[in-house]
């Protein structure tokens, strides 16, 4: 059996939890009489949730409504969601007031490279921590866990000196390079996930003559799709919204990222609420789209992070 066949024929990942857990709360049957609540209790919690949801969703909807209003409409519309003048021109005008496509390119470059790098490096390290027996493994893993508590701010001044020595101030490199070498948190997630896969996977691959690298690449990496997606999305959100690093390194107008440009607008054309909110929505849009595209994996990934 070739390595490829093994990865195809590999048994489904071992149950992720030792305790039986209902993965899908929405479809679960009522477990017992205890969990079944009185009708009044249900109605009350439903009402509370609905009321809370309205309060929660309101700023979001209000942002969308306001971004589509004319300036007169803002004055008369106030806090209501209706009427809306459907001034889609706000978007064209908002994006036209700055080099949007250039900043979008900068943002994509400083987001996608870290996403690809950190996911691969973290998976590689997580696999090594989970499966390759070695001297010093436990100690190094303790170091990984320890660095999770370190605030990144401790290194911003010395990192600035480092990038100055490398001639990288006012380039995009400082927004990319520190984030492609894996993150302790993702390494931890991958390790936990790989530890739950049956150890026979490794044995079978090694017997078939695959080295460690091949075992990781052809078997473990494809099996860890949930963690791959979850960590890629988390890194995407972090890099896309990263503000501290651009604020430190980028003063050249051509190299700004979208959040840095957006922060600059609050003082420049801050009085034009519809334009500003339209621009904000465009900046947020990729994150929202990705969330809805991979919702199941993201929710699963976030749940995994907190309970493991």
């Amino acid at each position: 059996m070739s390595v490829h066949e093994i990865s195809q024929a590999a048994p489904a990942p071992a149950p992720r939890r030792t305790r039986p857990r209902r993965e899908n709360a929405g479809r679960r049957p009522p477990v017992s009489s205890v969990r079944r609540q009185s009708r009044a209790g249900r109605a009350a919690s439903f009402a509370a949730l609905t009321a809370g949801s309205v309060v929660f969703a309101y700023p979001f909807l209000w942002m969308i409504a306001t971004s589509l209003r004319t300036r007169q409409g803002v004055a008369s519309g106030g806090v209501s969601l209706w009427p809306v003048q459907w001034a889609f021109g706000n978007y064209a005008q908002g994006l036209g007031s700055f080099p949007f496509w250039r900043y979008l390119g900068n943002s994509l470059l400083t987001t996608l490279i870290p996403v690809a790098g950190t996911v691969l490096v973290s998976s590689l390290a997580g696999f090594a921590f989970a499966r390759i027996p070695a001297r010093g493994r436990g100690v190094l893993f303790a170091v990984v866990l320890g660095t999770m508590l370190l605030p990144a701010e401790i290194t911003i001044v010395p990192q600035f000196v480092l990038f100055r020595e490398l001639g990288m101030v006012n380039t995009l490199y400082p927004l990319i390079l520190p984030y492609v070498f894996g993150s302790p948190f993702f390494i931890f997630l991958f390790r936990q996930f790989y530890l739950r896969l049956p150890g026979a996977l490794t044995d079978a691959a090694i017997i078939d003559g695959a080295g460690w690298l091949r075992t990781w690449w052809s078997i473990y990496l494809p099996l860890s799709k949930p963690i791959l997606i979850a960590s890629a999305v988390l890194q995407f959100m972090a890099s896309w919204n990263n503000f501290l690093a651009p604020a430190i390194y980028i003063s050249n107008d051509r190299l700004k990222t979208l959040p840095l440009a957006l922060a600059g607008f609050t003082s420049v054309n801050g009085t034009d609420m519809p334009l500003l909110l339209a621009t904000t929505i465009v900046v947020v849009l990729p994150c929202v789209v990705i969330f809805f595209a991979a919702q199941r994996h993201i929710i699963g990934g976030i749940s995994f992070t907190g309970t493991k």
Binding site: S32, G52, S53, A152, L166, F243, G306
Partner: protein
């Protein structure tokens, strides 16, 4: 740029490399040299039978992370410690200043303000976030119908973070046209000036942080669904009502999750930067009412170019985070319940 590296970059330039890529290639050469050094050492060690092949493979696999960690975290941290004893404005050569930076920090009224703002923000926002996200998760867990819809509604605002969230809430809290004061006006209350008012800017920032509790809520929801149902049944058979089941079954069972969220929330709150920066740039947060510690660090390092003092501030921040985390870890023995811990181990944890 470092003179030696500059020469290397010039050399690359003579081979026709475009200027934009020169620093990157210099960096990659350094990185490759370090990696080759480690790989060579490992190959030698395997050949001499000092280490087993799998040990060498392990270290090669973790090498990318180890190199990144050494270059961008460990090395800079050690350097930062050294910097914190220097006086350096990036232009003139650095001079040794002993503990002058730390002594200056003791008497710096702005640092006092920054510490006050940061701690107050953490104290206001973290408990409020915890209570809100836990309450919503409990409601959702009880309410089976429509859980997906509710979960999405509560999570989507978390996608609007950082600059976008602050820009939005500058308008939500706008004294004249804003959402909050507009609603308050409907019920006849004249709202405060929020971000424009030194007394209300911090509460506004804490309120704003409640909007992005969706991530915490999802983690709580997962924790709640992990509570074994037989515990509830046993409690009900013993005559426990809803509230006693919540207090004696649910909360102890998910206390490790609460602990995780409180620790990560606290560390995140201590690292707040964007809110303070963006509000300040928009002309809000008067009299340093949103001078977060990291913002003050940023000002010192990259606006006043006091590299030594900024490094000292970073270490003060780290000390504060570690102290708070240690405090919570120490206190956790009293309220965090781990299924696996034996009663004796738990008592030992409390006593130690």
């Amino acid at each position: 740029m470092n003179p030696v590296l500059q020469q290397l970059a010039d050399l690359l330039g003579r081979f026709g490399l475009v200027p934009g890529l020169r620093p990157l290639v210099v960096f990659l050469i350094i990185l490759g040299a370090l990696a080759a050094l480690v790989a060579g050492a490992l190959a030698l060690a395997v050949k001499r039978r000092w280490v087993r092949r799998s040990t060498a493979a392990f270290w090669l696999f973790v090498l990318p992370w180890v190199l990144g960690f050494a270059l961008f975290t460990l090395g800079p941290m050690l350097y930062s410690l050294w910097l914190s004893f220097l006086k350096w404005d990036l232009i003139n050569p650095p001079s040794f200043a002993g503990t002058a930076n730390y002594r200056a920090a003791l008497h710096d009224p702005l640092l006092g303000q920054a510490v006050k703002v940061t701690l107050l923000y953490a104290v206001l926002s973290v408990p409020a976030q915890t209570v809100l996200s836990l309450a919503v998760a409990l409601l959702m867990n009880a309410q089976v119908r429509g859980i997906h819809v509710f979960r999405t509604i509560w999570y989507v605002p978390s996608l609007v973070t950082g600059v976008s969230q602050t820009v939005l809430f500058l308008w939500v809290f706008n004294p004249q046209y804003g959402l909050v004061n507009g609603l308050l006006a409907h019920v006849g209350i004249k709202g405060p000036a929020w971000f424009q008012d030194p007394d209300w800017a911090l509460p506004a920032a804490a309120l704003m942080s409640l909007w992005t509790v969706g991530g915490n809520m999802i983690i709580y929801l997962a924790g709640l669904q992990d509570v074994p149902p037989d515990l509830y049944e046993a409690a009900a058979l013993d005559g426990a009502g809803r509230w006693r089941r919540l207090w004696h079954v649910t909360l102890p069972q998910i206390s490790p999750v609460i602990f995780f969220n409180v620790v990560t929330g606290l560390i995140a709150a201590m690292q707040t930067f964007t809110q303070g920066y963006v509000v300040r740039q928009a002309g809000g947060a008067p009299s340093n009412s949103l001078l977060f510690l990291v913002y003050y660090l940023y000002q010192n390092g990259f606006q006043f170019f006091r590299m030594g003092y900024a490094s000292a501030l970073a270490w003060i921040l780290l000390a504060m985070i570690l102290a708070l985390t240690a405090l919570i870890f120490r206190g956790s023995a009293f309220w965090v319940y781990y299924e696996s811990a034996s009663p004796r181990a738990r008592r030992a944890r409390v006593r130690s």
